[in-house]
Each structure stands twice: as structure tokens, then as C-alpha cells.
């Protein structure tokens, strides 16, 4: 059966002369006949379902018009008008559009606030007996999740969830239709679809993707093409004939609810109705449900025929004092760093554990999940035994999370399973019962069955489960390895769901644990382990994973394996370092030019040991290198980051000389007082000049940024500066240069003045009375040397 929705309400109101700035929903009260007529027009055009005029009927939107206190009145009036028009045969969908605000952390609205706003609207619509709740035009999956949860809680009605996608096939906040379909179906959406933003042609591929990723009916309500503005009015160009031509294709792609959004009229709906008459909803190939986890912008599948999925375990403060202390202090910087680095190391899912004693785990979990989900695009596993912390994490998470874990302990089953169902999360099932850890595979299987049966009772289903094989210590339990392998095989044979586990327990108490761990890992992969929870930085484990993928067939013919450089045969003896066959000063010079600061330090140490005088090292190696670098930079062969690496190498050389010969006076080319002028907070450019001068034998007095004229003059006199360097980056601060130069001359200082900075020019320097203008740090070094000749 195919159902036809109505078309646009806003377009009809616009053509009925609704003025911009007027509240369309207020018309439900002041012009109910107009709204009813639009409904009736759509019904006579063939709509099976009409939508209430409540798109902007939530409290936040109505507040813009000072109508928040009439939210109930407006929604109930709208539903009544629609019900009146609909009669008995036509169904009414209560429309709920966005609040116009983004949910935290994308925006300022909290999930709970959004939830209560949608809860209120859904309740009023249900009170007036609409047939569906239609959440539409959502561009933020968190807003959709809040609205869906609210609608499911406030009513018993079927809920339609329609997101809006952009040209790139994602919502503007990054969610793709596959991810949306999986996330929303898991949370209990009854119909999943797309509307607005795009025309039917662009929505077609999106509908196909939805159809491949949900078993729920699909709805589609395209715009009448992309809009133009004519005489201040928004016009949608696609006429009803053209629009209707797309309808059969949208049905074939999987939609069974079809209507129109912006720019569509009763003519469009009549044409669509005509075009689909006699068509049947397309039958979708139902594949077996797979376990899928989602983030805001990505879906990860875990199943026996798919490559192994690596769950990164590092965001866990257990046994990590520094991380625990940081989390306790409210900082998640290290946790976030671990998140990024684990992904770089190959993690596909990140486990988040906030089990720090003596702190509010709920608040920590909420913050960790919020911040990490904002930073990375891999799905997250919420690792806790605390139901309150779990719910806080699930709520904050803009996707379908994995709950780690649900055991067969009654309390855990009763508290965790409803949360999994409510927030659409998958569960990691851990076969531990109130009687403890079962030792044999058969016992584990039994406990697992208890968990799964209970989960089914709470409404979970195939595709929601990841089974833990349990690992004991082989040093204590001789059969530990065999039992785990048997468990994995039995899980696969009996349930067919994917499996997981942490592995390192196996080797506890044994020497060379990495060898035991990686050997055990290979055995488990062969026995059917799909998603190990492990340290992604562990090289032997990663190597084992790569090799196993080639052997098991996930990496066909070992192609990926062959690409890893470490697996290529290396001819022996080729990698030995050549002896330095140049003299040591040449080697130091080369190392400075290459920016090799560690090498420089050891070479300088050797040179000193060989009794080269420091002045000779400085002149023949270091200064010579910087001269060549200056030339290279000047003619565009070297670039600033390279010059700075060389400066770092110079610094390492000087530090080494000072360390070995503390009494040694190194070359002093002169004293430079340098500052960024008052009002200017740019530091980096000035710092670069200072660093280059300092490492070319000048004594540097760096006064910092935002320094007033008085201080600069005082310091110049105090240190008897040979040169005063002034930096200004903006037209608004440039004039400070004049002020400083004027004050310096008045003070009787003999210092030469060098100026530089983004907006400065030679002309400006001349006019301000500076002795020279340095366009960059390398030029500054040369000019400084010339000034003091």
C-alpha cells in the first residue's frame, strides 16, 4: 500500500498573503477557515494523510512571536482543524519541525530542554487525536533523537522521522542516511524518511540508501526543485508534471509514503497521486540483521563475514593515575588525545570508561561522551556498571552506542536492558551470573542464553548483541585458553551473533606476555573473534591482526599485508650507517642546515672533545650554516619552518657548548631589545625574529607583546641596547612605532631601530625614522649585523 501525503502548507499560506514576520501557526486560531480550506484542497487532490499546521508549533519557535504561552491552544486548534477536514477516511499527521537551535555541543540547547519542548508538543497533538507524529526537516540527529524519544514517551502513536539532507548526501551536521536509518530504527522510529532541502532527483539516492538500511516503511517529501527569489518571494520552479514523473522512481527506490515539501501545491499532489495509482510498494530484500554501531556521521558493522573490528580500550583511568587525576580535575584533554591517537593506530570503536573513585561518574561520562563524540567520527562504547552514568552517556551520544556491558546479574538486566531499548543502543553481553564467572564453555553458553532471553523480553532483537567470550588466566586455569576458544565456536554455532573480548588476562603471571597474548589472539581470530577490545598501540597484536586477516581471508591473498613495509624483505647489511667521512665542522654545518638538533648536540660534544675551540665551531660551522640558510631563504629555496628547524639546531649547539664550557663567552654581536608594540598581541612573528637573532650571536632582551613606549625606552637605556627591534602587525598599532622612535630619540638612546611586521613597509619605516625595515627574520639577522659593523 502506498500512502500520499499532502504538499506544502507554507507555500499555500504565502500565496494567501501571509506576511513575512507573521506566525503561520497563529492562523490556526485567527483564520481556521483558511487552514481548513488548504487541508480540503489537498484531500480533494488525493492526499491520504494531511499534516497539521504546527511545523513551528513548539514553544521555542512560538516564543519568537511572543506566543509561547499559547502552545497548547495553537497545537490543539491545528489538530482539530485537520481532524475536521479529514473526516474518517483521511489520516492526520501532527507535524513537529525544528526548534531552530542546535543541541549541545553543536549549539546551546540542552538535550533535556529539547526533549521537554517536543514532549509538550507531541502530548498536545496526541490529546487532539492525531494519527501520527511527524518529526520533520531535522538537520541535527541529536534534535531528532530528543524529539523521537519525547514522542514515544508522550504518546502511543506511530512516529515518522524525516531528516533533511544537503547536496552532499548528508545533513549539514554530517549525518548520512545510512547512519540516520540505523540510529532511528534502533530508537523505535516507525517510519523513516527525508524531506525538504532537495528536489526529488537529489532525494532518490538518499531513499535508496534508507531502504538498504532499515526494515521500516520509508517516507519522502521533496521540494519542488531548488528555489529562486522573484520580487522578494521564494519560488520553487518544478511544476506538477515534472514532479510527478519522479514519483514512480521514488516508490521503486523504497518509499511507500510520498508527498511534497516546500513549493508543492494541490496540483503537485494530484499529479503524484495519478502517477502512483496502481503501483505497489516495492518489496525490499531483507538481509539478516547485522550488528551496526553509529556515530553522528559514520556506521560501523560487526559481523562474522566482515574484517575484524578493533575496539580501543585506552580511555580507561583504571590503573592510570595521571589520567584518573586529570579526569577528576575536570579535564578531558588526555582522554581526547587518546581518542585521536587510538584511531590513528587503527581503532574502529572507542571504549569510554570513567571509573574514577571519589567523583561523580555520571557527570564525567556525560562530558566525556559529549566531547569525544564531537571530536571523532568512530562509534563509542559506554563502559560502566552505573545505570545513571550509562543513561547520561546514552543521552549525550548522537548515535547508536554499544553498552559495555550487560551481565546475567538480575539488577544489571533490569536496569540496563530498558536503557538499551530506550536509547537504541547495542549491548555487549558478558556471561557472568550472580554465581560468578562460569569456567566452562557450556556454562558460559547457558548464562549467555539467560541474558539473550531476558533481552528479547525487553524488546531487543538480533543485531543488538555482541557476545563476550570471557578470558581467564592460563597460569591459574590450565584450560582457560581451550574454554575460551570453545565458547567462541559455540556462540557462532548456536547464536550466530558477533563476539568480542579483552585478551590480556590470559597471560597474567607468565613471562614474555606479548608473545602469549598475540599467539592467543591469532587462535581466537581463527575461532571466530570479531571485535577484540585491545590496546591499538600494541605492535605485536596489530601485526598478528594483519597476518591473521591475510590467513582467514578478510584480506584477500594478503594484499593489504603485503603493502606494509615491515613485511617486505629487507636485504641484510644495507641499513648500516655510513661513517662520517667529512670533517666534523662540515658535519655540524650540515646538521644545522638539515635542522637535526639531536645530531648537532652530539657532534658539538665530539668537536669539543677533539679540542676544537668554541669560537671556531661557532664561526666555521654554525654561523656559516646560518649564512647559507639565509641565502637559501632569500632566493626561495628554503622556507620558514625549515629555517626555524635550523635555528633550533643552533640553539641545541649553543646549549651544548654552554653545558660543557659554562665559562666560555660566546660571540656577542650586540644587544637587541625587541618588542611587539602597545595594543598589538601578535607574538609569533616577533618571537621568530628574536629566536633567529639570538641564535646568531646577539644578546636578546625580549619584552614580549603589547609593550608601551615608556617600557621599551627604559629597557633600551637599561641594557644599553645596540638595536631596538619593533614589531607591529596591524594598521591600528603601526603608529605606535612612530611613538616609540620619537621617545627613544628624545631619551638620548643611541640604539639603532629596526622595524618589521605584516603591515609595515620600507616607506613607512623611512617616514617613521627607523634605521631599517626587515621584511622577515632572516633579513633581520643580516641587517642587524650590517647595522653594527
Amino acid at each position: 500500500m502506498i500512502y500520499v501525503f499532502d504538499g506544502a502548507m507554507g507555500t499555500m499560506l504565502q500565496s494567501a498573503n501571509l506576511k513575512p514576520g507573521d506566525c503561520p501557526e497563529l492562523l490556526n486560531i485567527i483564520q481556521p477557515d483558511l487552514i481548513k480550506k488548504i487541508h480540503l484542497d489537498y484531500i480533494s487532490s488525493g492526499a491520504d494523510i494531511i499534516e497539521t499546521n504546527t511545523f513551528g508549533g513548539n514553544r521555542i519557535k512560538l516564543e519568537h512571536y511572543g506566543l509561547a504561552d499559547r502552545t497548547r491552544e495553537i497545537n490543539i486548534a491545528a489538530a482539530k482543524i485537520a481532524k475536521d477536514a479529514a473526516g474518517k477516511k483521511i489520516k492526520v499527521a501532527g507535524s513537529m519541525g525544528p526548534t531552530g537551535k542546535f543541541i549541545e555541543p553543536l549549539g546551546e540547547l540542552s538535550f533535556d530542554e529539547a526533549y521537554s519542548v517536543f514532549f509538550e508538543q507531541a502530548r498536545y497533538l496526541a490529546e487532539a487525536e492525531v494519527d501520527y507524529i511527524l518529526i520533520e526537516t531535522s538537520i541535527d540527529i541529536q534534535e531528532m533523537r530528543a524529539a523521537l524519544l519525547a514522542a514515544k514517551t508522550a504518546t502511543n502513536l506511530p512516529v515518522i522521522c524525516q531528516m533533511s539532507y544537503s547536496n552532499d548526501g548528508r545533513t549539514v551536521t554530517g549525518t548520512d542516511p545510512q547512519t540516520a536509518a540505523i540510529t532511528l530504527e534502533a530508537m523505535g522510529a516507525d517510519i523513516i524518511g527525508a524531506n525538504c532541502s532537495l528536489g526529488p532527483e537529489q532525494l532518490l539516492p538518499i531513499i535508496r540508501i534508507l531502504a538498504q538500511n532499515t526494515t521500516k516503511p520509508i517516507s519522502v517529501q521533496p521540494n519542488a526543485g531548488m528555489p529562486h527569489l522573484v520580487n522578494g518571494k521564494t519560488i520553487f520552479p518544478m511544476d506538477s508534471t515534472e514532479m510527478a514523473q519522479w514519483a514512480p522512481q521514488l516508490i521503486e527506490a523504497g518509499a511507500s509514503f510520498i508527498g511534497g515539501c516546500c513549493g508543492t501545491t494541490p496540483q503537485h499532489i494530484a499529479a503524484i497521486k495519478k502517477a502512483i495509482t496502481g503501483l505497489k510498494a516495492s518489496t525490499r530484500k531483507q538481509s539478516l540483521p547485522r550488528l551496526a554501531l553509529t556515530s553522528r556521521s559514520k556506521t560501523v558493522f560487526i559481523d562474522k563475514d566482515l574484517p575484524t573490528v578493533l575496539i580501543g580500550e585506552r580511555i580507561n583511568p583504571t590503573g592510570r593515575k595521571k589520567l584518573a587525576a586529570e579526569i577528576k580535575s575536570g579535564s578531558f584533554l588526555s582522554a581526547k588525545k587518546e581518542a585521536l591517537e587510538q584511531i590513528q593506530a587503527g581503532a574502529h570503536i572507542l571504549d569510554i570508561n570513567m571509573g574514577v573513585g571519589g567523583m561523580d561518574q555520571t557527570a564525567a561520562m556525560k562530558k566525556a561522551i559529549t566531547e569525544i563524540a564531537q571530536l571523532v567520527d568512530v562509534p563509542l562504547a559506554i563502559d560502566t556498571s552505573d545505570a545513571t552514568a550509562l543513561e547520561a552517556g546514552l543521552k549525550a551520544y548522537p548515535g547508536r552506542a554499544l553498552i559495555n556491558s550487560v551481565s546475567a546479574e538480575p539488577e544489571r538486566l533490569e536496569t540496563f536492558l530498558p536503557l538499551a531499548k530506550k536509547y537504541g543502543a547495542a549491548i555487549l553481553c558478558l556471561p557472568i551470573s550472580a554465581n560468578g564467572v562460569p569456567k566452562t564453555a557450556d556454562e558460559r553458553l547457558q548464562v549467555m542464553e539467560t541474558i539473550l532471553n531476558e533481552a528479547f523480553e525487553f524488546g531487543l532483537k538480533a543485531g543488538d548483541f555482541l557476545l563476550d567470550g570471557l578470558v581467564m588466566t592460563v597460569a591459574a586455569e590450565p584450560n582457560a585458553c581451550q574454554e575460551t576458544l570453545s565458547t567462541l565456536r559455540l556462540y557462532r554455532a548456536k547464536f550466530g551473533y558477533p563476539s568480542t573480548m579483552g585478551l590480556s588476562n590470559i597471560s597474567y603471571g607468565l613471562p614474555n606476555r606479548p608473545l602469549i597474548n598475540s599467539t592467543f589472539f591469532a587462535m581466537c581470530l581463527a575461532a571466530g573473534l570479531d571485535a577484540p577490545i585491545m590496546n591499538p598501540y600494541d605492535k605485536p597484536m596489530q601485526d598478528t591482526l594483519f597476518a591473521s586477516a591475510a590467513l582467514i581471508g578478510h584480506d584477500q591473498n594478503g594484499r593489504a599485508y603485503s603493502l606494509i613495509a615491515s613485511n617486505q624483505a629487507v636485504p641484510k647489511g644495507a641499513a648500516t650507517a655510513p661513517e662520517i667521512d667529512v670533517d666534523i665542522l662540515t658535519a655540524i654545518k650540515a646538521a644545522v642546515m638539515n635542522g637535526e638538533k639531536e645530531a648537532v648536540a652530539s657532534l658539538v660534544e665530539r668537536a669539543l672533545a677533539e679540542k676544537y675551540p668554541p669560537t671556531e665551531i661557532t664561526e666555521k660551522a654554525l654561523t656559516a650554516a646560518m649564512n647559507d640558510i639565509g641565502i637559501g631563504f632569500g632566493n626561495g629555496k628554503l622556507f620558514l619552518p625549515q629555517v626555524l628547524l635550523s635555528a633550533e639546531a643552533m640553539r641545541a649547539a649553543f646549549l651544548k657548548i654552554k653545558e660543557i664550557l659554562p665559562a666560555q663567552n660566546l660571540q656577542n654581536n650586540g644587544t637587541v631589545v625587541i618588542a611587539t608594540v602597545k595594543g598589538d598581541i601578535h607574538d609569533l612573528g616577533k618571537n621568530i625574529v628574536a629566536a633567529l637573532l639570538e641564535n646568531n650571536g646577539f644578546q636578546l632582551i625580549d619584552l614580549g607583546k603589547d609593550v608601551d613606549a615608556e617600557t621599551i625606552v627604559r629597557k633600551a637605556l637599561e641594557y644599553d641596547a645596540d638595536i631596538v627591534g619593533l614589531c607591529a602587525l596591524m594598521t591600528t598599532t603601526m603608529t605606535q612605532i612612530d611613538t616609540v622612535i620619537h621617545a627613544l630619540k628624545k631619551s638620548g638612546s643611541n640604539a639603532k631601530v629596526m622595524v618589521g611586521g605584516a603591515v609595515l613597509t620600507q616607506e613607512y619605516a623611512n617616514q617613521a625614522g627607523a634605521d631599517c625595515y626587515a621584511k622577515d627574520g632572516v633579513v633581520a639577522v643580516n641587517l642587524a649585523k650590517n647595522l653594527l659593523k
Binding site: V172, P227, H228, D680
Partner: protein
């Protein structure tokens, strides 16, 4: 008052190299990656915007109080705009402190690279906010033209106070020094013209060749 805090899933290493003055030169790519990753970690992107009508005859943004646009280039740029968006974006102070720390520790080159990655991050954050706004403006039949900031061309930087006021940038923690510098330093204010779709306008994307700063470190060669 729409607030949108961008998601930065990756900092572009190519742009980072350009801002560091490296262009397409070979440099230690692992270090560039490290700087991009650290910028992603430390950036705290926040954005805010407001839409106003724009009078092309009087060159006034119809805010309260009105805001007169001065400058030939910016007026020409906005000549067909019926509305304007005034936008402010920042990535916060944390990264700024870290850039300074690295320099103090003698990591000159890495400090410069992190600074370049931070510049890339704030530009990406602004691009992302723009993309979000586009959803609304396209639906109303407008086309967005490229963003223009005080200090570009002949649009004086002294209009920053008005830009902060019109975008309500203090909501996301941006303030101004007396010399018109934005704090945090890695912040952007900009105006974006909204041109009705019926007025065909295919302005070329902003290009380095239009800028008078010939010796800019990040100048694109073509």
C-alpha cells in the same frame, strides 16, 4: 541568536602547509600531521551569526542601530545582496597558549606549524558555519557570496566593534582590544552577502591575486 559550534573531524594538512609558508614543498609530513592532530584536539570551535536586511542604495545594514558599510571594494562586493549575514567564529584561547608554550621551549618550527594548523582550523570552522547557514538561505532562495572581513581590501578594521555587536560575538567569548584585534587571536568576523537566486551572480571565489600583500607567507602562486 543562532549558535553553531563546528565539528572539526580533520585539519587540512595542505592548508596548514600553505599558512606555514611551505606551499607544496616537501617537509616532514609526520610533523605536519602531528600539528594538525594537536590543533584538532585543542581547538574549541564556536560560531554565531545574525541575518540582516541590506540596503544597496544607502549601503546600510538594517540593524539597530544601522551600520553603514564604508569602502569601495566591500560595497561593490555587496552590490547585489538583499540581506547580509554577520558572522563570528573562534577556536578559543587554549591553542593560543600552547603555541606560545612551544616557542618558549625552543620548538620554534613546530610552534609555527601549530599556529598554521590553528589558522586552518578557524577557517574550517567558519566554512562549516557557512555551510550550516546555507541550508536556511538556500531554502529561502538566496545564494551566499564569499565572506568578507574587516581588514580585507579597503574595508577598515576599525569596524570590528560593529561586527562584534551585530554578530553578538560576546556570546561565544570574543572580545576586542583597543587596537581592534580580536581575542582569542584565532577568531574571525565576516559579512556574507545573500544574493537572490534570480539575480545571476557568479562571482569568482576570493583569490590571493586580488590582495595587495605581495610578500604574504601564505600567498597562493596562481
Amino acid at each position: 541568536m543562532p549558535i553553531y559550534n563546528s565539528v572539526l573531524k580533520q585539519i587540512d594538512p595542505v592548508e596548514t602547509k600553505r599558512y606555514a609558508g611551505l606551499g607544496k614543498v616537501d617537509f616532514n609530513e609526520a610533523i605536519i600531521q602531528k600539528a594538525c592532530l594537536e590543533a584538532q584536539l585543542l581547538a574549541e570551535p564556536k560560531g554565531i551569526w545574525q541575518i540582516y536586511n541590506y540596503n544597496t542604495c544607502s549601503y546600510k545594514v538594517e540593524s539597530s542601530p544601522e551600520f553603514l558599510i564604508r569602502g569601495e571594494k566591500i560595497r561593490k562586493h555587496l552590490a547585489t545582496s538583499a540581506k547580509v549575514i554577520v558572522l563570528a567564529v573562534t577556536i578559543g584561547e587554549t591553542i593560543e597558549k600552547q603555541i606560545t608554550n612551544y616557542f618558549k621551549q625552543g620548538e620554534y618550527s613546530y610552534s609555527l606549524l601549530l599556529d598554521a594548523a590553528a589558522t586552518t582550523a578557524v577557517e574550517q570552522a567558519a566554512d562549516d558555519v557557512e555551510k550550516t547557514i546555507k541550508q536556511y538561505t538556500t531554502a529561502q532562495g538566496y545564494q551566499m557570496i564569499w565572506r568578507f572581513s574587516p581588514g580585507y581590501g579597503d574595508w577598515d578594521i576599525c569596524f570590528q566593534p560593529e561586527m562584534l555587536h551585530l554578530s553578538d560575538a560576546k556570546e561565544i567569548g570574543i572580545t576586542l582590544t583597543e587596537s581592534m584585534m580580536l581575542i582569542p587571536r584565532k577568531s574571525i568576523t565576516a559579512i556574507i552577502g545573500l544574493v537572490p537566486n534570480s539575480n545571476e551572480k557568479n562571482e569568482k571565489k576570493q583569490s590571493c591575486s586580488a590582495c595587495s600583500k605581495q610578500d604574504c607567507l601564505a600567498r597562493r602562486s596562481s
